[in-house]
Subunit: 137 residues, 3 copies
Amino acid sequence: MHTEFHLLTNGPGLYQFTDQVMDWTQAQGGSGLLTLFVRHTSCSLLIQENADPQVRFDLKAYFDRLVPRSDRPEMSYLRHVAEGPDDMPAHIKAAMMPVTLSIPVVDGRPVLGTWQGLYLFEHRDAPHQRKVAAHLA
Amino acid sequence: MHTEFHLLTNGPGLYQFTDQVMDWTQAQGGSGLLTLFVRHTSCSLLIQENADPQVRFDLKAYFDRLVPRSDRPEMSYLRHVAEGPDDMPAHIKAAMMPVTLSIPVVDGRPVLGTWQGLYLFEHRDAPHQRKVAAHLA
Amino acid sequence: MHTEFHLLTNGPGLYQFTDQVMDWTQAQGGSGLLTLFVRHTSCSLLIQENADPQVRFDLKAYFDRLVPRSDRPEMSYLRHVAEGPDDMPAHIKAAMMPVTLSIPVVDGRPVLGTWQGLYLFEHRDAPHQRKVAAHLA
């Protein structure tokens, strides 16, 4: 079973899409393995805490410090800068955080832990429509 | 085929569970794909060198420096601090290292390289029971 | 369906192998899930931009700064140094970037986005033959 989720982003940060995924796996029913794959090189797929929104704030704040924008003096060694100061840092973050997730499914439900939510982590400034391919078997 | 491994941790560090996984895949037999998925947001799943224990020491030492505890002055921008100074760094490490691993299986054995072992990387101070869901098909 | 790709590397950097993978999945045909798994602990598997080669230059430059060689003063706390100053940093990078990738396949083609290529990211100085196990089902 294949589908594709389309997620609209409006600047850097974590966008939850647990419900869309749950709705789809429950409509298929049965048990197996769910795989998600993001078809871009400047955003990531994360499983993170879905309780305190400050966790998402802190994740963004940490990675922004770890991978500064390419117009910052300490990043002057970067060469791929023509697409804006947020572009190469987005590729670096996309290398460091997952682009694919595989989650066992039992009776139509991914076996996420109590505090786990599914997020797209957008690394670019401009609004984007992000495509996440899904496979269930 | 589904199962769940329960691993007891007693502070930060790498805990090997290659043998438990091997025993299970060999009991199932056959060839296919093994997927492991950790049902928590403050620990990771790593495949790492199983020869020199100093590799595990160094991995912990490096990531502790890369993601300092939230009571350190340089981390004063973090907001999610109510659950202790080890909590938000644990979420950050869990974003940066895998929560799911997929390994082909041939004749009941995951095709791990000679030096590869399976580890749970615990990022929290307190003892935990960690649940790793497994799927084989 | 199982196979193994053998990739020759000649020093640190990103080596593209999208075409080998595409040729194999197209020869198998059909739809399903492709999983790649690298059988080593000192290199990574990345999906990254395949357009501007400077992206690969910058990725290498960034991670070399984030994880300095073990003969650098700031890394003097590392213990696993007997296999050369590039060895423990290679293990750290292999913890931080993927060792396994799962990509849905439709009609014999992995659903890579327009700008996505498959790369082995070599972290060691010496030439290596790297083995990437592949599973398609």
